[in-house]
């Protein structure tokens, strides 16, 4: 019997890359159809998948592709209004050397997300960290 030459980890990564791509294109299609709530949910799934794919590409030492997918995840989070999360991903993307023109684009995206994140932080109420302790009687 012939054995597949593809390593299991490689094939899993390939599957994940395919999954991220499918989710992204499905989110786009839902938005085209005006099914915005479903599009947002699918975009959130795509973002999480892209983030995971980027980590696996790091492990596979495919650094440049990892940057691409991290930036893609950040673009999804930006669309979802999750700017702080996008900032974290973009900073991580910038830690890898990339072509100057691409770096400039990532920096622009980062600057935009930082502005929006700080605006959002000013607007958001402080999270409640302490409250009264409920005592069972």
């Amino acid at each position: 019997m012939r054995r597949s030459k593809v390593k299991p980890a490689q094939s899993m990564l390939d599957k994940m890359l395919g999954e991220a791509s499918w989710l992204m294109s499905h989110a786009e299609a839902l938005a085209d159809y005006g099914r915005n709530e479903e599009a947002v949910a699918e975009l959130a799934r795509a973002a999480a998948c892209e983030e995971q794919v980027a980590s696996w590409l790091d492990v596979a030492e495919r650094d440049q592709e990892a940057v691409l997918h991290r930036v893609s995840a950040a673009a999804c989070y930006e669309k979802l209004g999750q700017y702080a999360r996008a900032v974290t991903l973009l900073r991580a993307a910038l830690s890898t050397p990339v072509a100057a023109e691409y770096r400039r684009k990532i920096e622009e995206q980062l600057s935009r997300c930082l502005t929006r994140a700080s605006r959002e932080m000013r607007r958001a109420p402080l999270p409640k960290t302490r409250g009264p302790i409920a005592v069972a009687v």
């Binding site: 499918w22 299609a29 159809y33 795509a46 997918h69 930036v71």
Partner: protein, 182 residues
């Protein structure tokens, strides 16, 4: 001139990593306004090597569709904006060309800011696709997309496909571009 006739619905199974149903429908929105199935396009090729025999610098592409896709297209006509339709329709035709003429031509997409970037991971190539309904925009759009594909972040070589859905000129230009130094 060599002629090929393919069904637009073929792209759905040919590209398992993309959701392309809506692109097929949008292509039919534009094509069905100009002709009954199949709709003819002249395809001009520049630097694209296909192992398929008889693909020369130019061929005639006849794109057909089924009644179900036409029904969906009619539903969409009243709701969609024109620009996304031409862009998505072009993605459908690009997907059809890669599925039929290029082995390992499966496409993937990532998000690049406001727009989508297409990749051909098995060929290590980037892909830029664009569609227009105005022939006067065609040459300019092709030039812009060449610059865009060559500035891809991975510095891969790239394909450009521009589709013109003009009533007087239905044309596809498909070109391959290499990085100057790798």
């Amino acid at each position: 001139m060599k002629t090929f006739e393919w069904a637009i619905e073929d792209i759905i199974t040919a590209h398992p990593d993309l959701y392309l149903e809506h692109c097929a429908v949008m292509a039919v929105v534009l094509m069905s306004q100009q002709s009954a199935s199949p709709c003819e396009f002249v395809v001009e090729i520049d630097g694209v090597a296909s192992p398929r025999p008889a693909v020369e610098n130019k061929f005639l592409l006849r794109v057909s569709w089924n009644a179900h896709t036409l029904l969906n297209a009619r539903r969409m006509m009243s709701t969609e904006q024109r620009k996304p339709i031409a862009e998505r329709a072009a993605v459908a035709l690009a997907a059809l060309l890669f599925a039929r003429l290029i082995p390992d031509g499966q496409m993937r997409v990532t998000q690049a800011g406001d727009r989508a970037d297409y990749w051909l991971p098995h060929l290590q190539c980037a892909l830029e696709v664009s569609g227009t309904e105005n022939f006067r925009e065609f040459a300019r759009r092709h030039k812009e997309k060449i610059a865009q594909v060559l500035s891809n972040p991975l510095r891969w070589n790239g394909y450009v496909i521009i589709c013109c859905f003009d009533k007087t000129q239905r044309l596809i230009r498909w070109s391959y571009h290499q990085q100057e130094s790798k």
